[in-house]
Symmetry: C2
Subunit: 247 residues, 2 copies
DNA sequence: ACCTTAGGTGTATTTTTTACACGTATTCCA
DNA sequence: TGGAATACGTGTAAAAAATACACCTAAGGT
Protein backbone atom coordinates (compact mmCIF):
# COMPACT_ATOMS: atom_id res chain seq x y z
CA UNK A 1 0.00 0.00 0.00
CA UNK A 2 0.76 3.57 -0.42
CA UNK A 3 -1.96 6.11 -0.14
CA UNK A 4 -4.90 6.65 2.12
CA UNK A 5 -5.96 3.98 4.50
CA UNK A 6 -9.41 5.08 5.53
CA UNK A 7 -11.16 1.90 6.56
CA UNK A 8 -12.50 2.69 9.96
CA UNK A 9 -11.99 0.32 12.83
CA UNK A 10 -12.21 2.70 15.72
CA UNK A 11 -12.40 6.44 15.66
CA UNK A 12 -11.08 6.99 19.13
CA UNK A 13 -8.00 5.78 20.91
CA UNK A 14 -8.55 2.48 22.64
CA UNK A 15 -8.74 2.10 26.35
CA UNK A 16 -6.46 -0.87 26.64
CA UNK A 17 -3.19 -1.99 25.21
CA UNK A 18 -3.66 -5.38 23.52
CA UNK A 19 -2.35 -8.17 25.65
CA UNK A 20 0.45 -10.32 24.43
CA UNK A 21 -0.32 -13.84 25.51
CA UNK A 22 2.10 -15.87 23.46
CA UNK A 23 -0.65 -17.59 21.51
CA UNK A 24 -1.01 -15.26 18.59
CA UNK A 25 -2.17 -16.68 15.26
CA UNK A 26 0.41 -17.74 12.71
CA UNK A 27 0.51 -17.82 8.97
CA UNK A 28 2.13 -19.59 6.11
CA UNK A 29 4.68 -17.33 4.56
CA UNK A 30 6.05 -17.73 1.05
CA UNK A 31 8.47 -15.91 -1.17
CA UNK A 32 7.85 -15.33 -4.87
CA UNK A 33 10.64 -14.30 -7.22
CA UNK A 34 10.51 -12.16 -10.31
CA UNK A 35 13.57 -13.52 -12.07
CA UNK A 36 14.67 -11.05 -14.71
CA UNK A 37 17.12 -11.47 -17.54
CA UNK A 38 18.06 -9.52 -20.63
CA UNK A 39 18.01 -11.38 -23.93
CA UNK A 40 18.14 -10.04 -27.48
CA UNK A 41 17.21 -6.40 -26.89
CA UNK A 42 14.49 -7.16 -24.38
CA UNK A 43 13.91 -7.85 -20.71
CA UNK A 44 12.56 -11.34 -19.97
CA UNK A 45 10.98 -13.01 -16.96
CA UNK A 46 11.52 -16.59 -16.00
CA UNK A 47 8.19 -18.29 -15.38
CA UNK A 48 7.30 -21.86 -14.57
CA UNK A 49 4.21 -24.01 -14.89
CA UNK A 50 2.41 -23.88 -11.58
CA UNK A 51 2.33 -27.44 -10.23
CA UNK A 52 -0.54 -27.24 -7.73
CA UNK A 53 -4.29 -27.18 -8.08
CA UNK A 54 -6.38 -25.34 -8.92
CA UNK A 55 -3.96 -23.46 -11.17
CA UNK A 56 -1.91 -26.44 -12.26
CA UNK A 57 -0.27 -25.67 -15.58
CA UNK A 58 -0.70 -21.90 -15.48
CA UNK A 59 2.34 -19.68 -15.71
CA UNK A 60 3.63 -18.41 -12.39
CA UNK A 61 6.55 -16.78 -10.66
CA UNK A 62 8.72 -19.25 -8.87
CA UNK A 63 8.18 -19.33 -5.14
CA UNK A 64 8.83 -21.29 -2.01
CA UNK A 65 7.73 -21.63 1.56
CA UNK A 66 9.64 -19.97 4.35
CA UNK A 67 10.92 -22.43 6.92
CA UNK A 68 11.91 -21.86 10.54
CA UNK A 69 15.61 -22.03 9.76
CA UNK A 70 15.61 -19.55 6.91
CA UNK A 71 15.22 -15.83 6.62
CA UNK A 72 13.12 -14.33 3.86
CA UNK A 73 16.27 -13.35 1.97
CA UNK A 74 17.68 -16.83 2.19
CA UNK A 75 14.42 -18.37 1.07
CA UNK A 76 14.32 -16.10 -1.95
CA UNK A 77 17.90 -16.84 -2.85
CA UNK A 78 17.45 -20.56 -2.52
CA UNK A 79 14.36 -20.43 -4.66
CA UNK A 80 16.29 -18.86 -7.50
CA UNK A 81 19.28 -21.11 -7.03
CA UNK A 82 17.14 -24.22 -7.08
CA UNK A 83 15.91 -23.30 -10.52
CA UNK A 84 18.97 -21.79 -12.12
CA UNK A 85 21.96 -23.27 -10.35
CA UNK A 86 23.46 -19.79 -10.22
CA UNK A 87 25.37 -18.34 -7.33
CA UNK A 88 26.00 -14.77 -6.31
CA UNK A 89 22.68 -13.40 -7.44
CA UNK A 90 21.62 -9.78 -7.20
CA UNK A 91 18.28 -9.67 -5.43
CA UNK A 92 16.04 -7.08 -3.92
CA UNK A 93 12.94 -7.31 -1.80
CA UNK A 94 9.98 -5.67 -3.47
CA UNK A 95 6.84 -5.89 -1.40
CA UNK A 96 4.81 -8.10 0.89
CA UNK A 97 1.30 -9.09 -0.06
CA UNK A 98 -0.96 -9.74 2.86
CA UNK A 99 -4.55 -9.50 1.69
CA UNK A 100 -6.75 -12.03 3.43
CA UNK A 101 -8.09 -13.76 0.33
CA UNK A 102 -5.35 -13.19 -2.19
CA UNK A 103 -4.93 -16.94 -2.35
CA UNK A 104 -8.48 -18.23 -2.33
CA UNK A 105 -7.82 -21.57 -0.68
CA UNK A 106 -5.92 -20.44 2.37
CA UNK A 107 -4.31 -17.50 4.08
CA UNK A 108 -0.76 -17.02 2.85
CA UNK A 109 1.43 -13.99 3.23
CA UNK A 110 3.92 -13.62 0.41
CA UNK A 111 6.99 -11.48 0.05
CA UNK A 112 8.03 -10.70 -3.49
CA UNK A 113 11.66 -10.33 -4.58
CA UNK A 114 13.24 -9.66 -7.90
CA UNK A 115 16.48 -11.26 -9.07
CA UNK A 116 18.71 -9.96 -11.83
CA UNK A 117 20.58 -12.70 -13.64
CA UNK A 118 22.39 -13.33 -16.89
CA UNK A 119 20.25 -15.32 -19.25
CA UNK A 120 22.85 -17.16 -21.28
CA UNK A 121 24.28 -19.41 -18.57
CA UNK A 122 20.79 -20.58 -17.74
CA UNK A 123 19.58 -21.44 -21.21
CA UNK A 124 20.98 -24.94 -21.02
CA UNK A 125 20.79 -25.82 -17.39
CA UNK A 126 17.44 -24.72 -16.06
CA UNK A 127 16.19 -27.39 -13.74
CA UNK A 128 13.85 -29.25 -16.10
CA UNK A 129 11.42 -30.27 -13.38
CA UNK A 130 10.09 -26.78 -13.24
CA UNK A 131 9.13 -26.45 -16.89
CA UNK A 132 10.46 -22.95 -16.71
CA UNK A 133 10.97 -20.69 -19.70
CA UNK A 134 11.88 -17.11 -20.40
CA UNK A 135 9.12 -14.74 -21.48
CA UNK A 136 9.65 -11.30 -23.00
CA UNK A 137 8.20 -8.69 -20.71
CA UNK A 138 6.18 -7.22 -23.53
CA UNK A 139 4.17 -10.39 -23.90
CA UNK A 140 3.42 -11.09 -20.28
CA UNK A 141 0.07 -9.39 -20.44
CA UNK A 142 -1.21 -12.18 -22.66
CA UNK A 143 -0.37 -14.83 -20.10
CA UNK A 144 -2.76 -15.78 -17.39
CA UNK A 145 -0.57 -15.70 -14.31
CA UNK A 146 -1.81 -17.24 -11.09
CA UNK A 147 -3.14 -15.35 -8.07
CA UNK A 148 -1.76 -11.83 -7.75
CA UNK A 149 1.41 -12.56 -9.67
CA UNK A 150 0.58 -9.90 -12.28
CA UNK A 151 0.57 -7.32 -9.50
CA UNK A 152 3.86 -8.63 -8.17
CA UNK A 153 5.45 -8.43 -11.56
CA UNK A 154 4.23 -4.88 -12.00
CA UNK A 155 5.57 -3.79 -8.61
CA UNK A 156 8.90 -5.47 -9.26
CA UNK A 157 9.35 -3.69 -12.56
CA UNK A 158 8.34 -0.37 -11.07
CA UNK A 159 10.88 -0.80 -8.32
CA UNK A 160 13.58 -1.87 -10.75
CA UNK A 161 12.94 1.31 -12.73
CA UNK A 162 13.36 3.44 -9.65
CA UNK A 163 16.40 1.59 -8.45
CA UNK A 164 18.18 1.67 -11.76
CA UNK A 165 18.12 5.45 -11.70
CA UNK A 166 20.09 5.42 -8.50
CA UNK A 167 22.46 2.53 -8.95
CA UNK A 168 24.15 0.91 -11.92
CA UNK A 169 22.49 -2.44 -11.37
CA UNK A 170 21.87 -2.87 -15.09
CA UNK A 171 25.22 -4.54 -15.39
CA UNK A 172 23.88 -7.50 -13.43
CA UNK A 173 21.84 -8.40 -16.45
CA UNK A 174 24.59 -8.32 -19.04
CA UNK A 175 27.44 -10.71 -19.69
CA UNK A 176 30.85 -9.57 -18.51
CA UNK A 177 31.69 -8.10 -21.88
CA UNK A 178 29.04 -6.10 -23.64
CA UNK A 179 28.76 -3.40 -26.25
CA UNK A 180 27.35 0.06 -25.79
CA UNK A 181 24.43 -0.86 -27.98
CA UNK A 182 23.55 -3.79 -25.75
CA UNK A 183 23.77 -1.63 -22.65
CA UNK A 184 21.56 1.00 -24.21
CA UNK A 185 19.00 -1.53 -25.37
CA UNK A 186 18.89 -2.91 -21.87
CA UNK A 187 18.09 0.48 -20.45
CA UNK A 188 15.56 1.13 -23.16
CA UNK A 189 13.87 -2.11 -22.30
CA UNK A 190 13.78 -1.42 -18.60
CA UNK A 191 12.67 2.17 -18.90
CA UNK A 192 10.43 1.31 -21.82
CA UNK A 193 11.38 4.32 -23.90
CA UNK A 194 13.94 5.02 -26.58
CA UNK A 195 17.20 6.65 -25.54
CA UNK A 196 19.37 8.78 -27.79
CA UNK A 197 22.48 6.87 -28.76
CA UNK A 198 24.95 9.72 -28.45
CA UNK A 199 23.53 11.19 -25.29
CA UNK A 200 23.38 7.80 -23.65
CA UNK A 201 26.99 6.99 -24.45
CA UNK A 202 28.12 10.38 -23.26
CA UNK A 203 26.37 10.02 -19.93
CA UNK A 204 27.41 6.46 -19.29
CA UNK A 205 31.03 7.03 -20.19
CA UNK A 206 31.12 10.15 -18.06
CA UNK A 207 30.43 7.96 -15.04
CA UNK A 208 33.78 6.42 -15.63
CA UNK A 209 32.71 2.95 -14.62
CA UNK A 210 33.38 1.22 -17.91
CA UNK A 211 36.57 -0.21 -19.24
CA UNK A 212 36.83 -0.18 -23.01
CA UNK A 213 38.39 -3.37 -24.38
CA UNK A 214 40.41 -3.95 -27.52
CA UNK A 215 38.18 -6.75 -28.61
CA UNK A 216 35.22 -6.29 -30.88
CA UNK A 217 31.89 -8.00 -31.02
CA UNK A 218 30.91 -8.89 -34.56
CA UNK A 219 27.59 -10.68 -34.15
CA UNK A 220 25.32 -7.85 -35.04
CA UNK A 221 27.30 -5.76 -37.46
CA UNK A 222 29.87 -6.23 -40.15
CA UNK A 223 31.94 -3.44 -38.77
CA UNK A 224 31.94 -4.77 -35.24
CA UNK A 225 31.48 -2.92 -31.95
CA UNK A 226 33.92 -2.52 -29.11
CA UNK A 227 33.34 -4.48 -25.97
CA UNK A 228 33.23 -2.77 -22.60
CA UNK A 229 33.32 -4.19 -19.14
CA UNK A 230 32.02 -2.90 -15.85
CA UNK A 231 34.72 -1.79 -13.47
CA UNK A 232 33.54 -2.96 -10.07
CA UNK A 233 36.53 -1.50 -8.25
CA UNK A 234 35.82 1.96 -9.49
CA UNK A 235 32.20 1.47 -8.54
CA UNK A 236 33.19 0.67 -5.00
CA UNK A 237 35.26 3.84 -4.85
CA UNK A 238 32.29 5.87 -5.98
CA UNK A 239 30.02 4.27 -3.42
CA UNK A 240 32.38 5.18 -0.65
CA UNK A 241 32.32 8.76 -1.78
CA UNK A 242 28.53 8.69 -1.78
CA UNK A 243 28.11 9.09 -5.48
CA UNK A 244 24.66 9.22 -7.03
CA UNK A 245 23.76 7.56 -10.32
CA UNK A 246 21.21 8.97 -12.67
CA UNK A 247 20.22 7.91 -16.13
CA UNK B 1 17.66 -6.86 0.98
CA UNK B 2 19.10 -5.34 -2.04
CA UNK B 3 22.43 -6.46 -3.32
CA UNK B 4 24.20 -9.71 -3.77
CA UNK B 5 22.81 -12.81 -2.23
CA UNK B 6 25.69 -15.22 -2.35
CA UNK B 7 25.05 -17.65 0.43
CA UNK B 8 25.27 -21.02 -1.22
CA UNK B 9 22.61 -23.61 -0.67
CA UNK B 10 23.00 -25.60 -3.83
CA UNK B 11 25.15 -24.86 -6.80
CA UNK B 12 23.18 -26.92 -9.27
CA UNK B 13 19.51 -27.05 -10.11
CA UNK B 14 17.64 -29.48 -7.94
CA UNK B 15 16.23 -32.74 -9.16
CA UNK B 16 12.85 -32.42 -7.60
CA UNK B 17 10.24 -29.77 -7.18
CA UNK B 18 9.47 -29.36 -3.48
CA UNK B 19 6.24 -31.07 -2.56
CA UNK B 20 3.39 -29.06 -1.23
CA UNK B 21 1.79 -31.10 1.49
CA UNK B 22 -0.42 -28.61 3.22
CA UNK B 23 1.51 -28.78 6.45
CA UNK B 24 4.02 -26.06 5.92
CA UNK B 25 5.35 -24.21 8.94
CA UNK B 26 3.70 -20.99 10.02
CA UNK B 27 4.90 -17.84 11.68
CA UNK B 28 3.73 -15.01 13.81
CA UNK B 29 3.47 -11.92 11.72
CA UNK B 30 3.43 -8.41 13.09
CA UNK B 31 3.26 -4.91 11.71
CA UNK B 32 5.34 -2.04 13.06
CA UNK B 33 4.52 1.56 12.23
CA UNK B 34 6.81 4.52 11.86
CA UNK B 35 4.32 7.26 12.67
CA UNK B 36 5.66 10.54 11.38
CA UNK B 37 4.52 14.05 12.08
CA UNK B 38 5.85 17.53 11.48
CA UNK B 39 6.07 19.82 14.48
CA UNK B 40 7.88 23.13 14.88
CA UNK B 41 10.29 22.96 11.97
CA UNK B 42 11.17 19.32 12.46
CA UNK B 43 9.99 15.84 11.63
CA UNK B 44 9.00 13.77 14.66
CA UNK B 45 8.32 10.09 15.29
CA UNK B 46 5.70 8.79 17.65
CA UNK B 47 7.22 6.19 19.96
CA UNK B 48 5.79 4.30 22.88
CA UNK B 49 7.19 2.51 25.88
CA UNK B 50 7.49 -1.15 24.97
CA UNK B 51 5.24 -3.07 27.38
CA UNK B 52 6.70 -6.59 27.13
CA UNK B 53 9.79 -8.20 28.56
CA UNK B 54 12.69 -8.19 28.14
CA UNK B 55 12.55 -4.67 26.71
CA UNK B 56 9.79 -3.35 28.93
CA UNK B 57 10.05 0.42 29.14
CA UNK B 58 12.32 0.94 26.15
CA UNK B 59 11.18 3.15 23.34
CA UNK B 60 9.66 1.34 20.36
CA UNK B 61 7.64 1.77 17.24
CA UNK B 62 4.02 0.88 17.74
CA UNK B 63 3.11 -2.51 16.35
CA UNK B 64 0.50 -5.19 16.37
CA UNK B 65 -0.09 -8.81 15.50
CA UNK B 66 -1.70 -9.77 12.23
CA UNK B 67 -4.87 -11.77 12.71
CA UNK B 68 -6.64 -14.13 10.31
CA UNK B 69 -9.34 -11.61 9.47
CA UNK B 70 -7.04 -8.71 8.68
CA UNK B 71 -4.71 -7.86 5.86
CA UNK B 72 -1.33 -6.34 6.57
CA UNK B 73 -2.60 -2.94 5.46
CA UNK B 74 -5.58 -3.15 7.74
CA UNK B 75 -3.45 -4.23 10.65
CA UNK B 76 -1.13 -1.29 10.13
CA UNK B 77 -4.00 1.13 9.87
CA UNK B 78 -5.70 -0.17 12.94
CA UNK B 79 -2.48 0.05 14.88
CA UNK B 80 -2.16 3.74 14.13
CA UNK B 81 -5.84 4.39 14.72
CA UNK B 82 -5.76 2.66 18.08
CA UNK B 83 -3.12 5.06 19.25
CA UNK B 84 -4.17 8.30 17.62
CA UNK B 85 -7.88 8.04 17.00
CA UNK B 86 -7.30 9.45 13.54
CA UNK B 87 -9.06 8.36 10.40
CA UNK B 88 -8.04 8.59 6.77
CA UNK B 89 -4.35 8.13 7.30
CA UNK B 90 -1.73 8.17 4.59
CA UNK B 91 0.33 5.01 4.92
CA UNK B 92 2.89 3.17 2.91
CA UNK B 93 4.45 -0.25 3.28
CA UNK B 94 8.19 -0.02 3.69
CA UNK B 95 9.82 -3.40 4.08
CA UNK B 96 9.43 -6.82 5.63
CA UNK B 97 11.99 -8.08 8.11
CA UNK B 98 12.41 -11.81 8.15
CA UNK B 99 15.72 -12.65 9.74
CA UNK B 100 15.51 -15.76 11.86
CA UNK B 101 16.75 -14.25 15.10
CA UNK B 102 15.81 -10.64 14.75
CA UNK B 103 13.59 -11.09 17.80
CA UNK B 104 15.69 -13.21 20.11
CA UNK B 105 12.87 -14.96 21.92
CA UNK B 106 10.87 -16.27 19.00
CA UNK B 107 10.55 -16.21 15.23
CA UNK B 108 8.46 -13.26 14.13
CA UNK B 109 8.19 -11.78 10.69
CA UNK B 110 7.45 -8.07 10.73
CA UNK B 111 6.28 -5.73 8.03
CA UNK B 112 7.13 -2.09 8.54
CA UNK B 113 4.87 0.76 7.43
CA UNK B 114 5.13 4.47 7.76
CA UNK B 115 2.20 6.75 8.45
CA UNK B 116 2.09 10.48 7.81
CA UNK B 117 -0.17 12.33 10.19
CA UNK B 118 -0.79 15.81 11.47
CA UNK B 119 0.66 16.25 14.90
CA UNK B 120 -1.61 18.89 16.38
CA UNK B 121 -4.84 16.86 16.58
CA UNK B 122 -2.98 14.13 18.43
CA UNK B 123 -1.29 16.22 21.06
CA UNK B 124 -4.25 16.02 23.40
CA UNK B 125 -5.82 12.72 22.62
CA UNK B 126 -3.09 10.14 22.31
CA UNK B 127 -4.30 6.99 23.96
CA UNK B 128 -2.61 7.35 27.36
CA UNK B 129 -2.23 3.61 27.86
CA UNK B 130 0.58 3.56 25.38
CA UNK B 131 2.80 6.15 27.03
CA UNK B 132 3.49 7.46 23.60
CA UNK B 133 5.30 10.69 22.84
CA UNK B 134 6.69 12.52 19.87
CA UNK B 135 10.44 12.51 19.36
CA UNK B 136 12.35 14.79 17.00
CA UNK B 137 14.03 12.70 14.35
CA UNK B 138 17.34 14.33 15.07
CA UNK B 139 17.40 12.92 18.57
CA UNK B 140 16.36 9.37 17.84
CA UNK B 141 19.92 8.16 17.71
CA UNK B 142 20.24 8.75 21.43
CA UNK B 143 17.32 6.47 22.21
CA UNK B 144 17.76 2.78 22.66
CA UNK B 145 15.00 1.36 20.46
CA UNK B 146 14.05 -2.29 20.76
CA UNK B 147 15.00 -5.08 18.35
CA UNK B 148 15.66 -3.86 14.81
CA UNK B 149 13.48 -0.78 15.14
CA UNK B 150 16.41 1.52 14.36
CA UNK B 151 16.80 -0.21 11.01
CA UNK B 152 13.08 0.08 10.36
CA UNK B 153 13.14 3.76 11.11
CA UNK B 154 16.08 4.26 8.81
CA UNK B 155 14.41 2.39 5.95
CA UNK B 156 11.17 4.27 6.44
CA UNK B 157 12.89 7.63 6.24
CA UNK B 158 14.88 6.61 3.20
CA UNK B 159 11.72 5.52 1.47
CA UNK B 160 9.90 8.71 2.45
CA UNK B 161 12.74 10.71 0.92
CA UNK B 162 12.45 8.84 -2.33
CA UNK B 163 8.70 8.98 -2.42
CA UNK B 164 8.50 12.67 -1.69
CA UNK B 165 10.49 13.40 -4.81
CA UNK B 166 7.82 11.75 -6.88
CA UNK B 167 4.63 12.71 -5.13
CA UNK B 168 3.50 15.70 -3.10
CA UNK B 169 2.88 13.67 0.02
CA UNK B 170 4.43 16.34 2.19
CA UNK B 171 1.03 17.93 2.52
CA UNK B 172 -0.15 14.97 4.59
CA UNK B 173 2.02 16.25 7.39
CA UNK B 174 0.79 19.81 7.48
CA UNK B 175 -2.46 21.26 8.69
CA UNK B 176 -4.94 22.27 6.03
CA UNK B 177 -3.68 25.82 6.01
CA UNK B 178 0.03 26.37 6.07
CA UNK B 179 2.55 28.99 5.11
CA UNK B 180 5.30 28.68 2.54
CA UNK B 181 7.86 28.79 5.29
CA UNK B 182 6.25 25.83 7.03
CA UNK B 183 6.15 23.86 3.83
CA UNK B 184 9.76 24.62 3.13
CA UNK B 185 10.87 23.69 6.62
CA UNK B 186 9.04 20.42 6.27
CA UNK B 187 10.95 19.58 3.12
CA UNK B 188 14.19 20.70 4.67
CA UNK B 189 13.54 18.41 7.59
CA UNK B 190 12.67 15.42 5.42
CA UNK B 191 15.52 15.90 2.99
CA UNK B 192 17.84 17.00 5.77
CA UNK B 193 19.37 19.88 3.86
CA UNK B 194 18.64 23.59 3.52
CA UNK B 195 16.58 24.75 0.57
CA UNK B 196 16.77 28.19 -0.98
CA UNK B 197 13.66 30.16 -0.08
CA UNK B 198 13.09 31.79 -3.43
CA UNK B 199 13.89 28.78 -5.54
CA UNK B 200 11.68 26.58 -3.40
CA UNK B 201 8.71 28.91 -3.68
CA UNK B 202 9.19 29.24 -7.39
CA UNK B 203 9.21 25.51 -7.92
CA UNK B 204 6.34 24.72 -5.65
CA UNK B 205 4.11 27.44 -7.00
CA UNK B 206 4.93 26.42 -10.55
CA UNK B 207 3.31 23.06 -9.82
CA UNK B 208 0.09 24.91 -9.47
CA UNK B 209 -1.22 22.76 -6.67
CA UNK B 210 -1.53 25.44 -4.05
CA UNK B 211 -4.30 27.88 -3.39
CA UNK B 212 -3.20 31.14 -1.86
CA UNK B 213 -5.59 32.36 0.82
CA UNK B 214 -6.39 35.86 1.97
CA UNK B 215 -5.74 34.98 5.55
CA UNK B 216 -2.42 35.47 7.22
CA UNK B 217 -0.66 33.51 9.90
CA UNK B 218 0.84 35.73 12.55
CA UNK B 219 2.36 33.31 15.02
CA UNK B 220 5.91 33.56 13.89
CA UNK B 221 6.25 37.06 12.54
CA UNK B 222 4.90 40.51 13.11
CA UNK B 223 4.28 41.02 9.47
CA UNK B 224 2.39 37.76 9.04
CA UNK B 225 2.61 35.21 6.26
CA UNK B 226 -0.04 34.19 3.80
CA UNK B 227 -1.69 30.84 4.24
CA UNK B 228 -1.87 28.38 1.39
CA UNK B 229 -3.88 25.23 1.01
CA UNK B 230 -3.30 22.14 -1.04
CA UNK B 231 -5.66 21.80 -3.96
CA UNK B 232 -6.50 18.09 -4.08
CA UNK B 233 -8.69 18.42 -7.16
CA UNK B 234 -5.91 19.88 -9.21
CA UNK B 235 -3.66 17.14 -7.93
CA UNK B 236 -6.05 14.49 -9.17
CA UNK B 237 -6.04 16.14 -12.59
CA UNK B 238 -2.28 16.02 -12.71
CA UNK B 239 -2.21 12.39 -11.68
CA UNK B 240 -4.50 11.48 -14.50
CA UNK B 241 -2.19 13.18 -16.94
CA UNK B 242 0.71 11.22 -15.50
CA UNK B 243 2.50 14.18 -14.06
CA UNK B 244 5.80 13.74 -12.28
CA UNK B 245 6.76 15.61 -9.14
CA UNK B 246 10.27 16.58 -8.33
CA UNK B 247 11.66 18.70 -5.59
C1' DA C 1 10.36 56.95 16.66
C1' DC C 2 13.08 53.39 16.04
C1' DC C 3 14.39 48.68 16.36
C1' DT C 4 13.57 43.96 15.52
C1' DT C 5 11.84 40.13 12.99
C1' DA C 6 10.35 37.19 9.47
C1' DG C 7 8.09 37.77 4.85
C1' DG C 8 8.29 38.57 0.10
C1' DT C 9 10.29 39.16 -4.37
C1' DG C 10 13.64 38.84 -9.57
C1' DT C 11 17.58 38.22 -12.34
C1' DA C 12 21.91 36.56 -14.03
C1' DT C 13 24.89 32.46 -14.32
C1' DT C 14 25.84 27.84 -14.61
C1' DT C 15 24.70 23.26 -15.43
C1' DT C 16 22.13 19.81 -17.50
C1' DT C 17 19.39 18.00 -20.97
C1' DT C 18 17.92 17.53 -25.40
C1' DA C 19 17.96 17.47 -30.40
C1' DC C 20 20.09 16.20 -34.36
C1' DA C 21 23.13 13.79 -39.24
C1' DC C 22 26.75 11.91 -41.65
C1' DG C 23 31.04 9.42 -42.68
C1' DT C 24 33.22 4.69 -41.70
C1' DA C 25 34.51 -0.03 -41.38
C1' DT C 26 33.38 -4.43 -42.75
C1' DT C 27 30.84 -8.24 -44.90
C1' DC C 28 28.15 -10.18 -48.36
C1' DC C 29 26.75 -10.80 -52.79
C1' DA C 30 26.50 -10.11 -57.61
C1' DT D 1 36.37 -7.18 -57.31
C1' DG D 2 33.23 -3.53 -56.92
C1' DG D 3 29.11 -2.04 -55.00
C1' DA D 4 25.36 -2.44 -51.64
C1' DA D 5 24.03 -3.03 -47.12
C1' DT D 6 24.43 -2.53 -42.17
C1' DA D 7 25.37 -1.16 -37.72
C1' DC D 8 29.09 1.73 -35.51
C1' DG D 9 31.01 5.97 -33.96
C1' DT D 10 31.20 10.74 -33.23
C1' DG D 11 30.28 16.66 -31.73
C1' DT D 12 27.86 20.86 -31.38
C1' DA D 13 24.25 24.09 -30.74
C1' DA D 14 19.91 25.26 -28.50
C1' DA D 15 16.75 24.87 -24.76
C1' DA D 16 15.58 23.98 -20.18
C1' DA D 17 16.52 23.53 -15.46
C1' DA D 18 19.03 24.48 -11.39
C1' DT D 19 21.47 27.49 -8.71
C1' DA D 20 23.25 31.62 -6.47
C1' DC D 21 22.31 35.71 -4.51
C1' DA D 22 20.41 40.69 -1.44
C1' DC D 23 17.37 44.09 -0.30
C1' DC D 24 13.15 46.21 0.90
C1' DT D 25 8.63 45.67 3.55
C1' DA D 26 5.12 45.19 6.97
C1' DA D 27 3.97 45.15 11.65
C1' DG D 28 4.64 44.64 16.68
C1' DG D 29 7.50 45.69 20.63
C1' DT D 30 10.31 48.85 23.26
Amino acid sequence: MYGYADKTFARQPQDTVPEYHGEEPSFHHTVDCVILGFHRTELHVLLHRFPYKPYKGHWALLGGFVTPEMSLDETALQTVQRLTGLDNIYMEQVYTFGEVRRVPTERVITTCYYALIRVEPTLEQLSPQYQATWHPLSQILNLDLVYDHPTMLRKAIDQLRLRIRLQPIGFELLPEKFTMTELRQLYESILDRPLDKRNFNKKVLAMNLLQKLEEKQKDTSKRGAFYYEFDADRYREYLEKGFLFEL
